[in-house]
Amino acid sequence: MHELSITRSVVETILERTGETKVLDVSLEIGKLSGVVADSVRFCFELVCAGTPLEGAALHISEPGGRAHCRTCGEEFTMDDLIPLCPCGSADIEMLTGRELRITSVEVV
C-alpha cells in the first residue's frame, strides 16, 4: 500500500508551497500505468489531510491512459498495460502518457 506514502508526499509537497493557507481543492494526475491506484489515494487523502490546512479539501484526480510512440514504425498507439509492444511488432517504444504522478494545481483561500 505505497499509496499512503504517496499521499503523504502529495500533502507535504503542497504544504511546502502553501504553508498555513487554507487549501480548498487539490488536482492530481495519476496515469493508469503509473503503478499508483487512484482509488487508494482517494481513500488515504482524507486521513492524511486531517489536522492540516488541507483538511476538508476536495480531491480531483485525472487518470490519463497509456499512449506510446514507436521508434520503428513512427506510429502512436494505445497501451493498456506496461508491455512495450507496438502493433507493428517492435518493442522499441517511448511512452508518452500513462505514467504521470503529478500535482497539477491547488485552490487556496
Partner: protein, 235 residues
Amino acid sequence: MCGTCGCDSGAGEVEHSHTVTLEQDVLAKNDGLAGRNRDWLAHHGLFAVNLMSSPGAGKTTLLERTITELGGPVAVIEGDQETVLDADRIKATGAAVTQVNTGAGCHLDASMVARALDTLHPAAGTTVFIENVGNLVCPALFDLGEHTRAVVASVTEGADKPLKYPHMFTTADVVLLNKIDLLSYVDFELAAFERDVHVVNPAARVLPLSATRGDGLADWYSWLSASRPRQPVPG
C-alpha cells in the same frame, strides 16, 4: 483589497479563492534524495545494488552466500517491516549491516537509505546491498540511488510473476531466478518465465541460480563485477 492577490474587490478585506499551479512530480522529493545518495555513493567509491523480491524468494540466503564467496568488502542495508532476524543472519557472515524497520511501510525510500548509509559509512570499494522489504509491488516505484536493480524470483512462486507484476520486472536490470534446485518438484516452465520477463523488459538479463546449492552463482558474481562502476578517484 484582497490580502492574497491584491485585487480590489471593493468590499474591503475579503478573501476569495484562487488557483495555484504546481505541476510538480509527486515523487520529486524522493527522486531528489535518491540523486543525492547516488552522488554520495559515487563520491565514496561505493557500488550499490537494490535487491527486491516477494517475501521468501531467497534474498537473504543469496546475500549470505554472496558475501562469503564474492570477496571484497560488503555492507548490507536490511529492510523489513519488523524484527532484526535478517540483520542477525548477515552479521553472522561478518559483513557490516544495519537494519531498517519500516513498521507499516511496505518499501524502503531514499531518506531511509541515506540514514542507513550514514550509519554504515562503508569504506571505498565496498559493495552495498540494499535488501528491500519483501514485496513485489511497492518498492518498484522508489528510486534509492542504487546503481543497479536486481529482482529475485523463485521457481516456487510460479512462472507467471513477470506478467502479473510488470512494474517490478520493468525496472529490473537483472532478474535472478532462484531455487532452480527445486525445478523437478514444481510446475515451472523456465523458457516461459524468461520469455515473459523479456515481454515486459527486453533489456533485462535473466540468471537462473540456486542460492542453497550454488548453481549459476558464478554468473551472478560476473554480472556484479561487470556492473560495478569504474572506481572514481576519491576527492
